[in-house]
Amino acid sequence: MKKRGSYFFVLDAMIGGTILLISLVIIFNSYLNTADTKQSYVLAQDITSFLVNAKIHEFIDAVVLDMINDGEIANIDNTYLQQIAIFHDNDPGTCGIGDNLNCAENLTVDLMNAILPIQYGYNYTIENNGLRTVIASRNLDSFETSDFALASRKLTFFKLSESEIFGPAITEVLIWS
């Protein structure tokens, strides 16, 4: 009879422990979900910060080097955000890199491939004079089923010459996964 009693105590303790464990798992899982979104937000901010602040001469890969050598990028002191907007503004046609993408799209695709993990989709647009233009995108089909989507918008303007200004325009980078 005493032996049976100890079984009960062990069983009770196990039931209690299980309930406690399930509760903790539920709670910590909810924390993990929140952290995931924050991490993605930081990623989106980092990408737009990179575009706004990084100058071309600070990050030159093979595609960018070709653009410089071909004269398509004239000023390597421009930021990437500026250079993409300049390409967009000049409508330069195709770049000599072996495909039919225009220069703005080519540069954007190259950059985003370098800085944004492949599991994320993106859509890079410039709105200028009331006209929204999609510069480049990835995994557009997955946008509708994405768990989260984050948009980072930057006021974009710069001097084209002493008496000419580009913008004001809005550059939007939409990221999702």
Partner: protein, 345 residues
Amino acid sequence: MELNKKAIMFTFLSVMIAALFSTMFTATKQSPVDEKVNFANTQIRVLNEHVENFESYVLRSLEISGYTALQGMIQYIEDTSTFYSDTGDINNSYKNCVQTGFIDGTSTDCPFMTDIDDKTVPSLLDLVAALFLDELNIDLTYSVLDIGIEQIGSFELKTWINITYNADHSYAKWSQPNERLETTISIVGLEDPIYNSYGPAKGIASNTFKKTTITKWNNSATLDFLNAQDYRTFPGVINIDDGAGGSTDYLAMSFMERLTDTTMDKFAAYRIESFIRPQDVSPDDNTSYVDFVFLKNVDWICDFGNPTSLYTITGFGSEFILDFIHLATPPYNLTRSDWLNNGVC
């Protein structure tokens, strides 16, 4: 039966402890409140970036508008053959051009300001205000209180704007009363008013300001300077005997002085000059080929008092003439043995 009661009690205790822990963790998390605060903070930070970008845009707009206004003001001198009376007149015209597109503030067009695009500051700021409202849901209102310009270097001007602005968003509001924003404008690329006004009579239509890159001067560098038609600072004073017992001082002119066609002591440190290329003009044997005397028909009087004031220089051609001050003023001084007083006074 006794044991069953104990078992029920222990089970009950376990459930209660689990419930207590669950409640404690849930209460500690407070996720709804934290997330709202974080979201609001993020919104405000992003909006703050937009407002800071607005100030940056104001400065770029002022640079674009200011440079175009100066182009227009120089064109106005050429169109009307009238220089500005003083720096106050320059500032008024500049402010009018930048704010209204009219050089007098009401009816006389400031050239270039509204020719293709409206480059007045209010027009440029209206563009960004509309964008803020349409795309960012920020209601931006502003009022330009004052605009001005002054010279701070031989090739640099400082321009400023006093502006009040308010930015309203559902998450935050900004109110910035009477903020002074300053930036610089280079005169490089602007046309020289002295050339525009006096040049055509000499056969030169115009010249644009370009700062020489030469830092070490010798005969060869000076020849390059002549051919490039660049500008350099020149602090010297040319004193010319008038042949009647008196003399007159001639000074190089700063940008502001070139807008007024007068010299003012406060601009002494910013005075610049260029050389006239002989092939661009009709020959003149009685003057130095520096812009502020050549273009303004200042001739040396050879018969009275200045017998050895003008020289040709070995390697510069027989028509290019410089005065003694330019030949001898450091660091621009040319090799003494190359000064040739062969027939010029």
